[in-house]
């Protein structure tokens, strides 16, 4: 028991002292109150037991709290980010700048201009991403929504991979590389093999899954066998992946005949996801695959023994080990699965949206996926919803820029702010005066115990 632990405990206790009831004593008393049993003596805090490994507990709980936080915090984080984004839009608007010069004479001019700027930008964002009321036909009106879902497809798949890894306690930064390798393998099967309808697409999907799974599994294997940190390994493998695809696009096998451009031949018709609602829309069957993948991830996590193992490893590896669950095996399995899902995202890109392989095939999906998984609290359906939201940001951002002149960068700012607010739940709680978890409902905090020295 090192001597710096108690220092930390007390400092913490002091910081939170006036606000929250997380000291062992209180936590147990809360539990006692909850049981509302008059005859039973008050339950006890494990006097020395709880503080055997406080540093481990602390680490686990901070990460677990951020990645599996409260749904309300996610929603409010989006609201806050949109408000902050709106203020930025207003601040950078020329009309607002002009009217601000006589702000003290007629403040309503500037405030009005600011409101107009922000609301018009967001209306354009909505029209570009969900429903365009100015469209001439129903198809035109609904077109933005299908665009949103098209963009959301790879995001959802990749984010599911990140979310699964989160649940097993791993920070998978490598979705980008996994998408790229998955896309590369899928594209190669798509343009160099010539197979009948059905079978070809199936093999393309499989190739994408295998490519991603290999790239992700490598991370898991290195972590399990050597203890290498998954964050560093997966970031480095991102570089390897992008440079590998850049090299591949310089060799004839990946180039169009007679061309030296770094762009692959188009995939065969048979290798591509068919459009979902005819040729008018870009939305393809990849979206259905994304829905199926979400369902699969939900089942895996909540209804299968593998998911039980992964969640146990993620929440408390010590208890998992003691219960006979192999932590290292869990790391490999989850990274294979995470990579496979990212590979599906790569497939959706080459076999659906882009139809060719370029070095930019993954855009920034792999990194946005981290945000999406965070926003979705690492639950499969939460991630799905967050993916659709981010798809909307991307699809609508373009319309916003063309219609109102608001820079598309503002969307990036909003996305970044969402992450910031999610990573700092106390900030959101303070702004909205939400109670600390455990205060209002008299429910003790789950994992935040700092070990009570009763």
């Amino acid at each position: 028991m090192s001597a710096d632990e108690p220092g930390r405990q007390t400092r913490k206790r002091h910081e939170r002292g006036s606000k929250s009831a997380v000291d062992g004593d209180e936590q147990r008393l809360v539990a006692a109150a909850e049981l509302g049993d008059g005859t039973q003596p008050p339950p006890a805090v494990p006097a020395t037991g709880e503080s055997l490994h406080p540093e481990l507990r602390e680490q686990q709980s901070v990460m677990q709290r951020i990645v599996t936080g409260n749904a309300l915090v996610s929603v409010l984080a989006v609201v806050l980010a949109l408000i902050a984004g709106g203020i930025l839009i207003a601040l950078t608007n020329e009309e607002v700048a002009r009217t601000s010069s006589y702000f003290f004479a007629r403040p309503q001019d500037m405030l009005g201009a600011a409101w107009t700027a922000a609301s018009e930008a967001y209306i354009a964002l909505f029209q570009g991403s969900v429903f365009n009321s100015d469209g001439s036909t129903f198809a035109r009106m609904i077109y933005p929504l299908t665009q949103t879902l098209t963009v959301a497809t790879p995001l959802i798949c990749a984010a599911l991979g990140v979310a699964l890894a989160f649940r097993a306690g791993l920070f998978n930064i490598g979705a980008q590389g996994q998408i790229i390798i998955g896309a590369t393998l899928a594209a190669w099967v798509g343009f160099s093999w010539h197979l009948p309808v059905g079978l070809h697409l199936l093999l393309v999907i499989l190739a994408g899954i295998v490519g991603g799974a290999l790239w992700g599994g490598l991370v898991g294997l290195l972590k399990a066998k050597t203890g290498a940190h998954e964050v560093i390994v997966s970031i480095m493998l991102n570089y390897v992946a992008i440079n590998l695809v850049l090299y591949l696009l310089t060799i004839p096998a990946f180039q169009r005949p007679g061309s030296t451009n770094p762009i692959s031949p188009q995939l065969d018709e048979t290798a591509m996801y068919p459009p979902l609602f005819g040729d008018t829309f870009r939305l393809h069957w990849g979206f259905i695959v994304a829905i199926l993948a979400t369902f699969f991830a939900w089942w895996l996590l909540n209804r299968s023994t593998i998911g039980f193992e992964l969640r146990a490893v993620g929440s408390n590896p010590h208890a998992a080990r003691t219960a006979g669950i192999s932590v290292t095996k869990g790391y490999v399995i989850v990274m294979v699965l995470a990579g496979a899902l990212a590979g599906l995202a790569g497939t959706a890109q080459v076999a659906g949206t882009e139809q060719v392989l370029t070095a930019g095939v993954a855009a920034s999906f792999g990194f946005d996926a981290i945000t999406v998984a965070l926003l979705g609290r690492s639950t499969p359906w939460g991630t799905f919803a967050a993916g659709v939201l981010f798809g909307a940001f991307r699809a609508g951002g373009v319309t916003m820029q063309t219609n109102t002149g608001t820079a598309i960068d503002i969307v990036l700012v909003v996305q970044s702010l969402i992450v910031l607010f999610i990573a700092a739940p106390p900030l959101v709680r303070t702004i909205f005066r939400l109670p600390e978890p455990g205060q209002l409902t008299a429910k003790p905090r789950k994992t935040a115990s700092t070990g009570g020295a009763a």
Partner: protein, 525 residues
């Protein structure tokens, strides 16, 4: 030094949201007294002391020092007012010397900002000599035994002119011998006019050293008792109902020896022999209890049996089958029930539901799973059955296990391990941090498991528990077996063995000591 300080708490109430952790607590601490605060874990003792030490702000009530109301904004204010606290876990920097630690936060400097420790050293020697602490100011903390580290903490407080010393569960980490030394030190400090607030739930120690005992239950003062009050009386005040402190168990009916450990050695990752050539056997229907001060190889011993340790040599055989080298999963499958020493770290997944925790090591076996698919219905039914059988107080089977009280968490772990036929049952610290009412229940379940013919291995650092449960007692010291003695062995003899003496020596010395009527070890018996 000093004339002492009168400290009074008046109507201290501390609320957390709707929850009342301290409810109008009055406490009068007089100079030259040892004032014990007795209460179960979770009764609100720590909260009260944190209020007194300035870590919490009271919701209501007043703190009076020498009849003058004061408010503390932090430990600094409390220290300035003459209140010092020795925490259960020491706040020392392991790689600093004693003098550096004592000076920390209060450093004297020479010209040019150089550290000046000479005064500190001198004062440490002074205090050390005055009270017979035997602390070398230049020793590095991590090289010192726990008992001495604790004295450094006391010196820290005394150097800051503390007149009231709060000792929070100070004996939890000490050997019986060190405990006696500490109780002696407390007596000296008292004679010197200091007031001592002694927080504990160990009745024996409280009775041995207190001038007055205040019992706290559920955040309220139940009453004061003199040190002459009987253990049963005190226990009843603490718990609020009659409790039987002694377990009425039948004599063991040992059968054949089905579990044997021979020449077991476990190396730590750094290559130290943390378990050093241990051999013993446990018969069916027998409880073997391992006694020892925490950190003497008990953890590694039990973990080695379960297959959690990597560098194991020797042999562990259960019903003829070798367990060394097997996977944890297979060892659990072979019928080993295991209650780990730290339930919240190794025993439970706090974010998992009670139902999930009840199948934590059987999630992939029928009837709870077929292939990869788990059976939520059967898992819920299993939970319902064991929540009822073990009287687990939880809102529902779906509540996160981390929200339960320590005693109820322990019941979940016990229920899981005892809910299947076992060939060996291992429990480390089976009742650590568990309320008295649940202790009774858990002990009965352990004895019941013995009575169906399972070999049982108990590891406990609480001598009381060892004496309560054991049919035979093995004592570990620095990874070595000091001997296996029968259940009736005296506390003094066990104490000597826990400090590194083998069984014969301990017996001889104990006999000698008793003959001389200068019972140094366990004098309060």
């Amino acid at each position: 030094m000093g004339w002492g300080l009168k400290l009074e708490l008046k109507g201290i109430t501390k609320r957390f949201g709707s929850l009342v952790a301290n409810d109008h607590i009055d406490l009068l601490v007089q100079p030259g007294q040892v004032h014990s605060l007795l209460g179960e874990n979770g009764a609100g003792k720590s909260t009260l002391m944190n209020v007194l030490y300035g870590l919490y702000e009271p919701s209501e009530g007043q703190i009076l020092v020498d009849d003058k109301p004061v408010t503390f904004d932090g430990p600094g204010d409390a220290m300035a007012a003459g209140i010092g606290m020795v925490h259960q876990h020491f706040m020392l920097v392991p790689v600093f010397t004693v003098a550096e630690n004592v000076a920390l936060g209060n450093e004297a400097t020479k010209a040019g900002g150089m550290l000046n420790l000479d005064d500190t050293r001198a004062r440490i020697r002074e205090i050390s000599d005055q009270y017979g602490f035997e602390v070398d100011p230049d020793a590095v903390i991590e090289d010192l035994p726990v008992g001495v580290q604790q004295r450094v903490e006391i010196i820290k407080a005394l150097l800051r002119d503390a007149e009231v010393l709060i000792l929070d569960e100070p004996t939890a980490v000490l050997t019986p011998k060190e405990t006696d030394e500490l109780l002696g030190i407390m007596g000296q400090l008292k004679a010197d006019g200091k007031a001592i607030v002694f927080i504990s739930h160990k009745l024996r120690e409280v009775k041995a050293v207190s001038d007055i005992i205040t019992v706290i239950r559920r955040g309220k003062v139940v009453g004061d008792a003199p040190a002459s009050a009987s253990t049963t009386e005190l226990a009843e005040m603490m718990v609020g109902r009659a409790v039987s402190l002694t377990l009425n168990k039948e004599a063991a009916q040992p059968g054949e020896e089905t579990f044997t450990v021979s020449d077991l050695t476990v190396l730590s990752p750094t290559g130290q022999r943390v378990v050093d050539g241990i051999s013993f056997g446990i018969a069916r229907g027998e409880i073997m209890a391992v006694a020892g001060v925490q950190g003497n190889g008990q953890t590694e011993l039990t973990e080695a049996i379960l297959g959690l340790q990597d560098h194991v040599s020797g042999s562990i055989r259960l019903e003829g089958r070798e367990l060394v080298g097997k996977r944890v999963k297979d060892i659990i499958g072979a019928g080993v029930g295991f209650v780990p020493e730290d339930r919240s770290v190794e025993g439970l997944v706090g974010t998992f539901s009670v139902a999930e925790n009840l199948i934590l090591n059987r999630y992939d076996r029928p009837p709870f799973a077929r292939g990869l698919a788990m059976k939520p219905g059967l898992i819920a039914k299993n939970a319902e059955q064991y929540i009822a059988e073990f009287d687990v107080r939880t809102q529902s089977a779906e509540a996160a296990a981390g929200t339960l009280s320590g005693g109820n968490q322990q019941k979940v772990v016990m229920a899981r391990e005892l809910s299947r036929p076992l060939k060996l049952f291992i429990a480390s610290q089976p009742t650590r941090g568990v309320d008295v009412g649940s202790i009774e229940f858990l002990h009965k379940r352990i004895v019941a498991e013995r009575d169906v013919g399972t070999p049982v291995l108990i590891v406990s650092t609480e001598l009381d528990e060892v004496l309560e449960l054991a049919d035979r007692i093995a004592v570990l010291y620095q990874g070595r077996l000091m001997g296996i003695v029968p259940a009736g062995t005296s506390r003094g003899e066990l104490g000597l063995m826990m400090a590194g003496m083998n069984a014969e020596e301990a017996q001889a010395q104990q006999a000698q000591a008793e003959a001389q009527q200068t019972d140094v070890e366990g004098g309060e018996e």
